[in-house]
């Protein structure tokens, strides 16, 4: 099991457990867990509405690629620890991480 924590827009935290070997993005996990995330482009790094801030565990994640960095640059509220949840695969790298939902609501 991979365990990490999601923090909603009100600052409330919820632990999440995902079985290993499941090929999902963090955005898909957010949607499946009924978090109100827009994800307009469906995970193509084209809309930046799946924005999350990585409060813990940023260094463990693979670095953002060009498409993700391009989109993050369009976000006025992007912080130095911002990522697009659709570009983050759910695997061991997420273990113990804390992700805060930042994107606009649906």
């Amino acid at each position: 099991m991979i365990q990490f924590t999601l923090e909603d827009r009100n600052g409330e935290r919820q632990p999440v457990e995902i079985p290993e070997g499941i090929n999902l993005s963090l955005m898909e996990v957010l949607k499946a867990s009924d978090y109100n995330v827009l994800a307009t482009c469906g995970g193509m790094a084209l809309c930046a509405t799946c924005h999350v801030q990585v409060l813990e565990g940023l260094d463990a994640l693979p670095p953002a690629r060009d498409a993700e960095l391009d989109m993050l640059d369009t976000l006025p509220d992007a912080e130095f620890d911002s990522r697009l949840s659709c570009q983050i695969r759910v695997d061991e790298a997420l273990e113990g991480g804390i992700f805060k939902i930042k994107g606009p609501e649906q």
Partner: protein, 334 residues
């Protein structure tokens, strides 16, 4: 005042195709879009992406589909108001409507079709507490007339192409140009990024990297911009203008206040003709909702066809509509 049969709000693929369906029934259309170009999400978000589920096209690029739609509706001579957002809708005594935009363009029409997709594309605004208070008083989200910035102290924010391009352009016009960007490199065109770094070296542009704007102050008009760096150091700059350039994001906007039945930011419709709860107003494409709705271009095209069959009765109250294939009559134009 512009006069037409059908006023279509939104020039995305669905609004564009509605012109074709209306044209077959000899109804004229005027389209309004908040964006400066037609095409909606296809042109704004993914112009170069291929689409695979348009019947008859195994693969077509989004912008190509928009170009083809424009060619397909050309015989019906639709008219356009682009770069303006529809704000208000007023019912006339005879049941028709007058629609007004934020730039005071008025359109008189018999039927209103809302093809507004995800909503109106509006500028992404940084989270600065009293930002809206300074809009029009030093804060703007696009450069409409660069001459107005001549000899002013301008702060730009963002790291994409438009932030870079305007920094380069304004370096020759403004008294002082500062570009604030959250990272230490630019994702925009490498040529432009290089030029900005050169201008900074020459002292013609003030480059503030790894930083964000955290507050603004002024009495009546913008006077100061406060910038916080990644290492938490805070600097305050005197500024006459602040232009955050972070692209666009869709919002439902003024349509939400028109008395239409709304369900989760979409307009509820009757699936027999995609009419709303308000007579003579229809909603098609991504902006509507009904059981089983699929937010696909294909679905929007189907909705446009049924909507036009129903709208006909308001445009030609004394005529009976008879359905004909385009293969029978070709494309009869006006």
């Amino acid at each position: 005042m512009i006069t037409t049969d059908i006023c279509i709000i939104g020039a995305g693929p669905v609004g564009l195709f509605a012109v074709f369906e209306a044209g077959l029934l000899k109804m004229r259309c005027h389209l309004i879009d908040a964006l400066p170009q037609v095409g909606g999400q296809l042109s704004e978000i993914y112009p170069q992406k291929p689409i695979y589920d348009i019947p008859g096209y195994p693969e077509i690029k989004a912008q190509e589909l928009v170009d083809n739609l424009m060619e397909q509706i050309e015989p019906f001579h639709p008219t356009f108001t682009l770069g303006e957002r529809v704000e208000a809708l007023e019912r006339q005594d005879d049941g028709s409507f007058v629609i007004t935009t934020n730039d005071s363009t008025s359109v008189h029409c018999q039927v209103v079709v809302i093809a507004g997709g995800l909503g109106c594309f509006e500028p992404r605004k940084p989270e600065i507490q009293n930002l809206e208070q300074f809009e029009g008083k030093g804060v703007a989200y696009m450069v409409k007339n660069p001459e107005q910035l001549r000899d002013r102290r301008v702060v730009l924010a963002g790291g994409g192409d438009s932030a870079l391009d305007w920094t380069i352009f304004l370096a020759n016009i403004a008294k002082e140009v500062t570009l604030v960007h959250r990272s230490d490199s630019f994702r925009g065109a490498p040529d432009s990024a290089e030029k900005v770094f050169e201008l900074a070296k020459e002292g013609r542009v003030n480059l503030v990297l790894q930083s964000t704007i955290t507050s603004i102050t002024g009495s009546g008009h913008l006077q100061e911009v406060t910038i916080t760096a990644k290492d938490k150091t805070v600097t305050t700059l005197a500024a006459d203008n602040l232009i955050p350039l972070f692209g666009l994001t869709p919002k439902l906007g003024p349509i939400a206040d028109w008395g239409l039945r709304i369900d989760k930011a979409a307009i509820s419709v009757d699936t027999t003709d995609y009419s709303t709860n308000v007579e003579r107003i229809y909603a098609i494409g991504d902006i509507n909702t009904y059981p089983g709705k699929l937010k696909l271009i294909l679905s929007g095209f189907h909705e446009a066809a049924l909507m036009c069959q129903s709208a006909f009765k308001y445009v030609y109250p004394n005529q009976k509509l008879s359905f004909k294939y385009t293969t029978v009559n070709g494309i009869p134009t006006f």
